[in-house]
């Protein structure tokens, strides 16, 4: 009788690999549970007309929800509004944040206080800021109407700030720019502070003017950070919901359209289709942006 061949101990590398897999397993499981599973479940749900009561049978509609969505003029209106909203708020908040960062990068008395004060709008809970704005524009006792109508006499009758479709769009953009610009400020300021002061000194010795210094030194140094801020903010604002929904009913951007479909009309299938389309659109934009950046850097 032959004895079994001796067991060869696994190599150190194989052991490490197995241990490594074991270590990443919780993270992978977490990603599956909170990202992959919801995405696929949402995709699955978008092909059905689910009953509110899960004990009742769901109805398989295939691509019916997508067909309904693409035939709905409200969807295109929301998409266009979202595009305008994202463009205005991202450009506005980045410009304002960048300008504030340049200012805060200089040395002046009370700089620490000014830096903290500028962050206030970002750290305040959304619901509080929304109510402050609603009260500011209140027709009975709001400061804005009081200043523009009673003090300055610019209008005979105050405009209906949050009812007029154009004014309300501008106001929700202004609100968002005011609320989120500190994010761009923090990011750009940290990038500005990493620029070596000697470079500026050398430029000054060479006789460069302030604008030239900004264009040839500051801007190229902060551009990668600005690009990241713009990409991140575009994604976040594309999914925006709460402040717009709370401020006005006249700006149904995609987030609001999705919420109404899911929780006012209770059409969970169509709502899932909307979120799948939104996800596809954002992923498309991210891939294009990443490819362009890769092309530019190579």
């Amino acid at each position: 009788m032959r004895s079994p061949p001796p067991r060869i101990p696994p190599s150190l590398e194989a052991q490490n690999r197995r241990l490594g897999l074991l270590f990443v397993l919780p993270a992978v499981a977490l990603v599956f549970a909170v990202i992959i599973y919801p995405v696929f479940f949402n995709l699955y749900l978008s092909l059905w007309k689910p009953a509110l009561n899960p004990a009742k049978p769901d109805l398989f509609v295939g691509f019916g929800n997508y067909a309904r969505l693409l035939a709905d003029p409200q969807f295109y209106r929301s998409l266009a509004l979202t595009a305008v909203y994202v463009a205005l708020t991202v450009a506005g908040s980045t410009l304002l944040g960048g300008s504030a960062a340049l200012l805060m990068n200089r040395d002046f008395r009370g700089r620490k206080f000014a830096r903290s004060a500028l962050l206030l709008s970002y750290v305040m809970p959304v619901i509080s800021s929304v109510f402050v704005w609603i009260y500011l524009f209140n027709p009975l006792y709001g400061m804005v109407d009081y200043a523009l109508v009673d003090l300055l006499g610019l209008f005979e009758v105050a405009p209906q700030w949050f009812d007029d479709p154009v004014l309300s769009l501008l106001l929700v953009c202004l609100f968002d720019i005011w609320r989120i610009f500190p994010f761009a400020l923090i990011m750009i300021l940290s990038s500005l502070q990493s620029i070596d002061g000697a470079v500026y000194e050398a430029a000054l010795i060479d006789g460069a003017r302030p604008f030239r210094i900004f264009r040839c030194i500051t801007l190229p140094e902060i551009l990668p950070v600005v690009a990241s801020v713009v990409t991140l903010r575009s994604i976040w604002n594309f999914y925006k919901f709460e402040d717009v929904y709370l401020l006005t009913k006249q700006v149904p951007i995609l987030g609001v359209y999705l919420y109404r479909t899911a929780f006012t009309v209770n059409d969970l299938g169509l709502a899932s289709a909307i979120s799948v389309v939104m996800f596809a659109l954002v992923m498309g934009i991210v891939f294009v942006a990443a490819a362009r950046r890769k092309g530019a850097s190579s």
């Binding site: 689910p50 509110l52 004990a55 209140n138 027709p139 009975l140 209906q160 006012t264 209770n266």
Partner: protein, 427 residues
């Protein structure tokens, strides 16, 4: 030594097992509501403690959820098969839950029968009667809506109480002076259910029902059109814009409006401002007066085990006993009104200083529950599609477009009619 350890271990396990499953484990259930204010939570917890002391076999856990997140929470819990046994909802929400077949209509009906149908105001029970004749909820309290007006200012100008449509319009014109920030009448115009509730009272006072005899939507009927025209006419003498709770309430308490359309929840604030004796209450009357109110409804769900449903039923019967019912009513005195006839005239209920200040008005308001009128509630039954029509905000969106955005009246009526027909057809 080892054997002794094993014996001790096994004995411990046996002890643990016996602790984990006592002979008679109390039946626990969740009670979800929107009374998130700390003082109201305390009152409810006090009642729960008293109930548990009386019924050691039951355990109630209250789950307060803020009002704006309430329906979202209900739908997600429903999807996850985790609805609580007892939920405090509006009639509209109860209709939606009933349409989704998650209400234990038999238990709800038996609670009302056990308490005594005759003890309730007839209207409060009738609005909860579904197609099958069974109740899809237990009425607990209710608020009443109507025109609150400044009696003192009306007397100064010698105006009649704002009941008849013509009198309402005359008074609105008389007090309207926007340059001084004074408005004739302020009411809901935003695209929310508040506007649907306000408008429905005017429509119903003109005999405009939402469905015809065959159950087909009738939002384009001549009576409804006339009601919308009247609503638009009144808006000329109102604070411009999409008005909601804040604008309506503030304009009255701030002295900017002579009349507002609001629920009894306005009483608390006015009392604190010392305005109780200056305020009158009127029910609008076109072809007939239309009492409007909303019944706070307790829904017992059918998605929990039978034992939990019976526990919830026992809790409801406990709450509807006068000694427990009155403290519940006094949580926000004046706002919720008794749907139990006996309580409305009970000195213990009327003894609260706020209710005393309003005198006979406080006593008379609950009478509105005797004959409630409501969109979708016709011939003693609720139209099963009404909940969905309300949830989709079809009526308030049309009104907001007509009044605030100046959209064409007939075009909006036709659009709303089509949207309602889609709901009825299940599209």
């Amino acid at each position: 030594m080892k054997r002794r350890l094993i014996v001790v271990f096994v004995a411990l396990l046996a002890l643990l097992a016996s602790c984990a499953k006592p002979a008679s484990a109390p039946v626990g259930f969740e009670f979800m509501h929107t009374y998130v204010e700390e003082d109201r939570l305390k009152v409810i917890q006090g009642l729960i403690d008293a109930f548990q002391a009386e019924n050691p076999g039951f355990e109630v856990k209250q789950v307060p959820v803020s009002e704006d997140a309430f329906w979202t929470r209900i739908t997600t819990l429903m999807q996850g098969r985790q609805l609580p046994a007892l939920i405090d909802v509006s009639v509209d929400q109860a209709r939606l839950l009933a349409a989704s077949d998650v209400v234990d209509v038999d238990t709800c009906t038996s609670v009302v029968q056990d308490v005594g149908v005759d003890r309730f105001y007839a209207g409060a029970v009738a609005v909860l009667r579904g197609d099958s004749g069974k109740l899809f909820g237990v009425p607990l309290t209710g608020w009443v809506q109507g025109i609150w007006y400044r009696k003192d200012l009306f007397a100064e100008k010698g105006l009649a109480a704002p009941e008849k449509w013509d009198d309402i319009l005359t008074a609105a014109k008389a007090f309207h002076s926007p340059a001084d920030k004074k408005y004739g009448i302020v009411f809901a115009t935003e695209a929310t259910d508040f506007t649907e509730q306000t408008f429905s009272q005017f429509a119903l006072s003109n005999g405009a029902e939402l469905f015809d005899a065959s159950g087909k939507p009738a939002f384009n009927s001549p009576a409804m059109r006339r009601a919308v025209e009247f609503y638009r006419e009144l808006y000329k003498y109102s604070l411009p814009g999409s008005n909601g709770f804040t604008q309506v309430k503030d304009s009255f308490s701030g002295g900017n409006a002579a009349m507002v359309v609001y629920s009894t929840y306005i009483l608390g604030g006015l009392y604190e401002q010392g305005m109780a004796d200056k305020v009158g209450f009127a029910v609008p009357e076109g072809v007939a007066p239309a009492s409007f109110g909303m019944v706070s409804t307790e829904v017992i769900t059918n998605t929990v085990p039978e034992a939990q449903r019976q526990a919830a039923a026992a809790f409801m019967k406990f709450l509807l006993r006068n000694e427990n019912y009155i403290p519940w009513m006094h949580m926000a005195p004046g706002g919720p009104n008794p749907v139990l006839k006996g309580v409305a005239s009970d000195p213990a209920y009327l003894g609260h200083p706020l209710l005393k200040a309003y005198g006979d008005t406080a006593k008379a308001i609950p009478e509105a529950f005797a004959d409630l009128a409501m969109f979708g509630f016709q011939d003693g039954k609720t139209n099963p599609k009404m909940g969905e029509i309300s949830a989709r905000m079809i009526i308030p969106t049309a009104l907001n477009n007509i009044l605030v955005l100046g959209a064409d009246l007939d075009g909006e009526l036709a659009k709303a009619q089509k949207a309602m027909e889609d709901v009825v057809a299940g599209r």
